[in-house]
Point group: D2
Chain length 340, copies 4
């Protein structure tokens, strides 16, 4: 069994990692760290695991973690991992970071969008941004993609790679359930303000925007910008992206669609659908369901992309990356299907 430490166990992604690893046949969580509840059993916070695990919450101690485990997952807020991870990076100890701290390669960009001090340049250089369904090779420091970025990049990458679309036409209207906003108590997470409601937030300011552009550029250097909006919808889990991109003249939509299918033909967790997917098709799973349709009048391809924000958008993808790193079957621990 590969021994796992999770840092940041009290947040949604941290516990989702823990919950998913309970069914993983080759890995075992041996240590969970937090800044509160230290010394308490984890089931004090998550009573649903009572019968399965007596694991205690520990304080964070890098040397003990390196001693006791084979890999550490950080499910910590932005601005934390970039310092906490340093001892592990310096010892070339495997790190999988679910936060945004190692995603943006340009420290100034990080500081602009996250409004926090960036990780050091040398550490950023060691980090591999690994979108698990398009990139399986990584070294010791894996930066796990953002939830919105995952849902947006998976449909867009084959489109920009093939140079099929007008690169200045990309518009992404993304909606997220409330677990995406974390456990922080705020007016915008109060039930009465969310239920029966919908609101757009961080318009043109969401920190996943530069992440998406940076990654698209790897596939087509001519991508300069995207238009990207994020809204909250009254569900607990899930991201629903509607995207609008202009087909380049000279391409037929059928050909483009076939190319996207081919791009993902061996990928278990990306499903190119022949009808519009609903959020419920993927909630609770590690799938990204993608649908493309073309409007002849406007020349626009409508993209629908849906994921579970905590699984494919965070903990599930992290485990997929872990499986790749340790040469385990990709779907181990991740074979959940949606209910109903």
């Amino acid at each position: 069994m590969i021994k796992i430490t999770i840092v940041g166990i009290t947040g949604y992604s941290g516990f989702e990692l823990f919950r998913l690893f309970l069914k993983h046949e080759k890995a075992q969580v041996v240590k969970v760290c937090a800044t509160s509840h230290i010394g308490e059993p984890l089931h004090h916070i998550y009573p649903q695991i009572k019968e399965c695990s007596e694991i205690m919450i520990s304080s964070f101690d890098p040397s003990i973690i390196m001693q006791k485990s084979d890999v550490v997952f950080f499910a910590t807020p932005a601005g934390v991992t970039n310092s906490l991870a340093i001892p592990f990076i310096e010892h070339d100890f495997p790190v999988i970071d679910l936060s945004g701290d190692f995603r943006l390669k340009n420290p100034r960009s990080y500081e602009k969008w996250y409004k926090k001090p960036s990780a050091q340049q040398e550490h950023l250089e060691k980090a591999d941004y690994v979108l698990a369904d398009v990139n399986t090779t990584a070294h010791q420091l894996i930066s796990n993609p953002g939830c919105f970025a995952t849902a947006c990049l998976l449909p867009l990458i084959p489109l920009v790679k093939g140079d099929f679309i007008e690169l200045d036409s990309i518009i992404l209207d993304a909606k997220s359930g409330l677990s995406g906003a974390g456990k922080v108590l705020s007016e915008s997470s109060h039930f009465v303000n969310v239920h029966d409601n919908m609101m757009m937030y961080k318009i043109n300011q969401h920190q996943h925007l530069p992440e998406i552009v940076q990654e698209l550029k790897k596939w087509n250097g001519k991508v300069e910008f995207i238009q990207f909006s994020t809204s909250l919808i009254p569900v607990n889990y899930g991201i629903f992206v509607s995207g609008y991109v202009k087909l380049k003249s000279g391409f037929s939509f059928d050909e483009v669609q076939q190319d996207v299918k081919d791009f993902y033909k061996d990928k278990k967790f990306v499903r190119i659908r022949s009808e519009a997917p609903k959020l419920s098709d993927v909630v609770g799973t590690n799938f990204c369901d993608i649908y493309l349709t073309y409007n002849q009048t406007t020349g626009i391809i409508t993209i629908i992309s849906v994921i579970d924000n905590l699984i494919k958008g965070a903990a599930g993808q992290a485990i997929q990356n872990f499986n790749h790193l340790f040469d385990i079957k990709e779907e181990m621990g991740l074979s959940h299907l949606a209910r109903i």
Copy 2:
């Protein structure tokens, strides 16, 4: 126009008073007080009133309130009105208090259930607890009933008055929407913890319990206790009470039901229904819909009682009490009907 001051405008009940009074033909809100946002227009907090009102939020000053208005409503948390209201009480200035501070006549009971210092005995004695649909006479200090208490008392009062039921058999299983818990940010109001969920809270400890018993005793001195539970359900507004009481031998259910109908036959806001009401029949309105049905096998009358917790359970009833106090048509400002 009767001039109104509302103290505690930033809470749900305070704003609901304001919103309802905007349509009242004989009253005008001239002053709104809070402990925060002082000096800001109210529409900074409630953008939906922007086009209708430029009223500013003031700090609380009893002498200015008494100078500028004819009556003051307190929509403040428990433990606040009992001191804030003193100058008004001493000047015999009309007060309608939506908090729990003047409901329990026994200071020790208040201190036990609210875990705060009680109002002074002499002030408690001046306060009239006025359940608007059964009691319309009041003096200068009106204590407006609690939301759960309203939904429970309205069906129970005719039953205990007529001595139709076993008085030790009263079981009330009450459920509330989240606005009932106020705007306070807490884990139990975080969307992810409420949505798709149901939880019971304050079991045998809810402060409306002694209020219900105290009021039932006025109609039948032999009432000693009730069994009372409160749960949260994932809706914004509304209280749904299921009650179970044992019919006394010697009474026929039809006769009891007729008596309840007769008791409320001239009451506009209490509707004895011939089929089980749904929450949606009353949300957005000042109605209490009541249904009774009898089980011959068990001898138990099942009671359903539904109200809007912020209207009939708070601001609407307060305006009904205000209308009575100022000899205005009872339904003025309160004639909303449920949607759908």
Copy 3:
């Protein structure tokens, strides 16, 4: 009192008309028609009106309607009004039609998008499409705009009128609550399929698309098409539109925004907001709240437009049109404010 008949009282819009007219000081609903429940009191279907109205459901008889009332509202499904309304049109009797039957001036377009036979050309010519906040003059046959069309047109009209935007760049991503889909029982309205879910439907095929284009053309003849998507979100009421349009070079966004504000400066029910509106700001009201923001990097103006689909998007706007037609104060019967 102006006497009103409502045809189609069993649907959402028909009852919403009825409910709103109950508070209208110059109008009274004297007749309600349906194809079922004939001879029953309306409160059999809508128990919430029991204490307010004993009105009975009638069958549809044009001559009786013309005898007994001053105006008829049709809240009937598409494909029904175009024949039912004929006698009224021929007698120049005032008709306000909430269905889509008289909206599209081109019968072939109607037949393409609605997949039903169109109204006759001569009747279409008599019909005035009246978006109440931009057009107040109308003759005897008023075609009330569609709910999505209303939410999309209100922000777009000043933008295309001023020729401020690239006309081939208009992308509208609209989301609706479930009452927008009507009372019909279908898999897509089953609670389990909607709750915790989001789905896009009728992609590039929604019948409000040609309506929006037709109306925009009135303000700028060069508009040829729009990209338009509609999704269902798990709320009962409300439409939330995110729109994306490209600012034409040569214009500053501030100037454009000022122009939009000026366009609506005397309009009570259109509010140009300085921060992003939420759905809850308008639910239960006749307001359309609009927000514009500009992204310098992409050159795109993001539009947010929110309405209550049954009020501003149907019954409320119809009453606003009625008020104009009968020279009544525009806001009569429509002065509701959002809760919370």
Copy 4:
């Protein structure tokens, strides 16, 4: 691998069986039957299984089922299994029936509560009602308990067995999510009628009532009746029962609580909690979480019992019964934990 046939695959319970069996290490679903969609792949109805299974929907043919599989599950509506199951019963072929058809041992009781013809007496006699957490021995025809019955019986059985409570005092107020009402399209499952709402239904008439009494009698013959109510709450999955029972004089609550704990001390799927469980603690799992608390003033024990209606209340318990029947580890295929 044990080969499974599921009859009634298009309903919620049928698919939940299928979905859970996909992760079962010792069983494989080889055949799924329905009365519609015959000849189509199951993923036409449930796109979320596309990548996992190409199984086709078959028509129902008992001899083929007996040839191809080792056990048949019926997830059919009431009134169907009692005839469909006959050939299997006559061949002593293992049947697990999730419908109500073999639950009530008295045919007249079935006909009264289900309003349908009962199974034949001789077949009823062959059927074992198996509440998986209290009874593990069964023969070839297993009648799987009802969802409400499961949630009510698990806490009540030790209480009546120990004769700890007044047997005429049992009041059960049960609430269910909408999947409990099945896929049938009806006004009461239309999103707009359920969302933001709560309603009580089948008051004193729910068919699980006689089932609960029948089973309690097995543990204490003096049980004669219960008071039982069922409501719908706006969630997809889950049953939340609040129960009220009177402690018999002479017993201490602590002793009773200890007895309940002891009764379930070796049961993996029944958890006696020390704090009130929420619905979310068990949704998605096979657990029943139970909480008891005592009110000294009233002498009443409040019971909270929560389950997932489709798992512990249907498919999960059926698999647990299957595991017992085939001598497989009880928790195989059932080790899911709640999210969040």
